[in-house]
């Protein structure tokens, strides 16, 4: 299974071991880390809500399409669900290929698509006590950008 959703921290060393392949010359990894600021606000923690059945099936579809397009040998992705702390790895994408170009292109394409196509939502908790769903500016009708809860 190439797409995984995990409540537990991502075992990056274990994933790397599992991708070992003596026909591969290049291995590219992207990790998205929880950082302490976003769009000018200080972030304290965050949580991901994931609709797992479709996040997995759409993720597998994206990975298969990108492998086909780029000629990479294999790719895997893991996305966290639930509460995360600063510095945690929220998403891990690893790609192996014969030469480095395919692995770089495939890794970039997979993370770009994961961010906009999978049913995953991020709620940021700010240092000032506020919190809000990210990216919901456009679905707000009533004049405030986030569903703020103090």
């Amino acid at each position: 299974m190439s797409m995984e959703i995990s409540y537990a921290p991502i075992d990056t060393a274990g994933l790397r071991r599992e991708m070992a392949d003596v026909t591969a010359g290049g291995f590219v990894v992207f990790e998205g880390w929880v950082r302490n600021h976003n769009e000018g606000r200080e972030v304290r923690a965050l949580e991901y809500e994931v609709y797992k059945p479709l996040a997995i099936s759409e993720g597998e579809r994206i990975i298969a399409e990108v492998i086909e397009q780029t000629g990479a040998i294999a790719a895997r992705a893991v996305h966290r669900e639930g509460a995360l702390e600063l510095g945690d790895s929220a998403v891990w994408v690893g790609v192996i290929s014969a030469h480095r170009d395919e692995a770089f292109r495939a890794c970039r394409e997979i993370i770009d698509r994961i961010k906009v196509e999978l049913p995953i939502w991020k709620k940021e908790h700010y240092v000032d006590g506020d919190s809000g769903w990210v990216n919901c500016e456009r679905c707000a009708k009533h004049g405030h950008a986030h569903a703020h809860s103090h």
Binding site: G32, L54, I111, V116, W133, N135, C136
Partner: protein, 86 residues
């Protein structure tokens, strides 16, 4: 044909911001909406969004769908606010 006026029973599920706004994660609605867009707009009092096209997604019976896809009696419709993975 008077399919457009037929009353259907549809299970609707709300996620993330939509769930917060609707105050519920699931409900069964009786509707005459022909497609997902019409159903979404009928439920504006729940999710407070007038037009979902371009930034919200919908799934019907476990598969990603288009807003123009038909809604039938007994369907389960998942309403997804803008996603933000990674």
């Amino acid at each position: 044909m008077d399919g457009g006026a037929t009353m259907k029973s549809v299970s609707v599920e709300y996620f993330a911001l939509f769930r917060d706004r609707a105050g519920r994660s699931q409900e069964t609605v009786e509707t005459t909406a022909e497609d997902a867009l019409a159903l979404f707009q009928e439920l504006e009092h729940r999710h407070a969004t007038s037009d979902p096209r371009g930034h919200c997604k919908v799934a019907i019976n476990g598969k990603m769908a288009e807003w123009s896809d038909a809604v039938n009696d007994g369907d389960t419709v998942l309403l997804f606010p803008p996603v933000a993975g990674g």
